[in-house]
């Protein structure tokens, strides 16, 4: 894998955000807020952490990434395209009749492992993959991205128990802790707090990180799978809508598509951050 500098990755995040808005605008649909909150996480995963590429995607020892918060598929498409899994022009078909690039991940798209989109599935799937890896003494690691509103799905906690029971230290969950779901603040809808203590009580390593700090994400995501005997969750503190000031921290942007004017302003704001 090409080794990027921190500032190169930071620039990539801005380019990803620009591409993301472009394709959401073109498709006329997308989960804008929750896409933007995990751009930096996906950037670091795919450019600095995951041993996965178009060349080794069918190698049984590749690292696995399962996106449990499947609705943020647009950013996954953007990152996979940039990593060469398919031509970027494919993204012009997002949401179009007969296009495989639909509003949630499917295996029809190269680079995607599982068809997600119903919340609360990724952790169990990832645990199964990690368990197979343990039994086979395989070198791969399994990463899964979960939304914080998604924590209300009880299936997560079934899987959390199992992953700790089987000491799945090859499993790393990342929580996109943007504090918002559709209806409002997660603390107000049906609070999952205290999140860290819950995972600790379930037998997990818990690491809290700034989910937009490339330096920290690189360090934390690369080091976490060296921890032994327990699965790890990284509670990544993020901002929903991150990168476009008027989209930040505003539930309305969960799945809003920018108007022409909003789009222009957003692009301008992002472009000023490019070196």
């Amino acid at each position: 894998m090409k080794k990027y500098s921190d500032s190169e990755l930071q620039q990539k995040s801005i380019l990803y955000r620009l591409a993301l808005l472009k394709y959401i605008k073109m498709a006329g649909a997308g989960h804008t807020g929750g896409d933007l909150s995990c751009v930096d996480i996906l950037n670091v995963l795919y450019n600095d952490v995951l041993n996965v590429s178009p060349e080794n995607f069918h190698d049984k020892n590749r690292d696995r990434y399962i996106q449990s918060k499947g609705h943020a598929v647009e950013i996954l498409y953007v990152v996979l395209a940039e990593r060469g899994f398919f031509p970027e022009t494919d993204l012009e078909t997002i949401g179009k009749y007969k296009s495989p690039y639909i509003g949630h991940p499917t295996r029809k798209v190269n680079g995607i492992e599982f068809n997600t989109g119903a919340l609360g599935h990724g952790l169990a799937i990832s645990s199964g993959i990690a368990l197979a890896g343990k039994r086979d003494r395989a070198p791969y690691r399994v990463f899964t991205l979960i939304g914080d509103g998604e924590l209300a799905e009880g299936s997560n906690w079934e899987a959390a128990m199992l992953a700790a029971h089987y000491k799945l230290d090859n499993l790393l969950a990342i929580l996109d802790h943007n504090t918002l779901q559709i209806t409002g603040r997660i603390s107000e809808v049906c609070s999952p707090y205290p999140i860290d203590e819950k995972w600790k009580a379930f037998g997990w390593n818990v690491i809290t990180a700034d989910g937009h700090n490339i330096l920290w994400l690189r360090k934390v995501l690369n080091e976490a799978t060296n921890l032994k005997d327990k699965p790890t969750i990284i509670i990544a503190n993020t901002i929903k809508g991150k990168g476009v000031s008027f989209m930040e921290n505003d539930t309305r942007w969960h799945h809003r598509v920018p108007s022409d004017d909003e789009y222009k302003i957003a692009v301008k704001e992002l472009e000023t951050q490019l070196i």
């Binding site: 599982f114 068809n115 989109g117 169990a124 368990l131 197979a132 890896g133 079934e158 899987a159 199992l162």
Partner: protein, 319 residues
Amino acid sequence: MNITDQIIEGKANLEIFCDTLIDLARKDSTIIAVTSDSRGSSRLIPFAEKYPEQIVEVGIAEQNIVGVAAGLASTGKKVFVSSPGCFLSTRSLEQIKNDVAYSDYPVNLVGISSGVSYGALGTTHHSLHDVAALRAIHNITIVVPADNFETRETIKTAAISNKPFYIRFGKKKMPHLHSGSDTFGIGKASTILEGNDVAIIACGETVFPAVEAAKILYNKGISTRVLSMHTIKPLDNISILKAAKECKAIIVVEEHSINGGLGEACATIILEAGLPVPFKRMGIPEEDTVTGSQMEVFNHYGISASGLCNEAEKLLRKV
């Protein structure tokens, strides 16, 4: 078989499941059994003792068992999930739909103690809805084997298939309905008895009462075709239409709600082909299911030799 053959009791299909899995695991280390506090009721203890590295226990968590199984299958494991049909089929329906069928990983879901096998334990433990639920899900084969032979063949086929399966059977010992020379194919009904007056299309534990009914009808001069329609999806349309053309009446009998099961599936095929044959669905009706043992529930709803004879004669009077 022949109508005059003595019927010999075999083992419980559960035991055949375990024996077959042991046979397969001997040559294949990728075979994995997954249980949800159900290895005892699945009769998988001998398997667990022989191949401890090839069994995964998830605890009482049916959503999890299917998600985890899908993850295991995605790495190339040949996964058999074994858990009571009532819980496995629908507590985890969304996992079956998305993680297994839609994601297209070859998980084999084995619904044990299905139908009304649990008898007086009641409706919480009955699975009279599993086939209906799964029939509406694309990319899963549904098999309800009748005897030991059909069970063994189904498990062997599922193990080498790269597609998802739901395999459903009960608890009790099953009579042998096949002879040594019989062949088996998923999606191809087994003709248990030949006949041209009435056809009884059955699956799983209802095939035996159909055979018993055929014997009584035989003594009354009525010839009965008994089909074991073990594969409910994909359905053997050819055998169904052949029966509808060659026989004067059709009964479909299943250990399932009459809503959404094999009966409705057969009716659809026959109706769409425009065949005007007297037809009756038998199974568990739309009501609070009567309490009692499996046999008592069967008898109550006419899933018995006498119940099926009565229906056959009623239908034939209409001809």
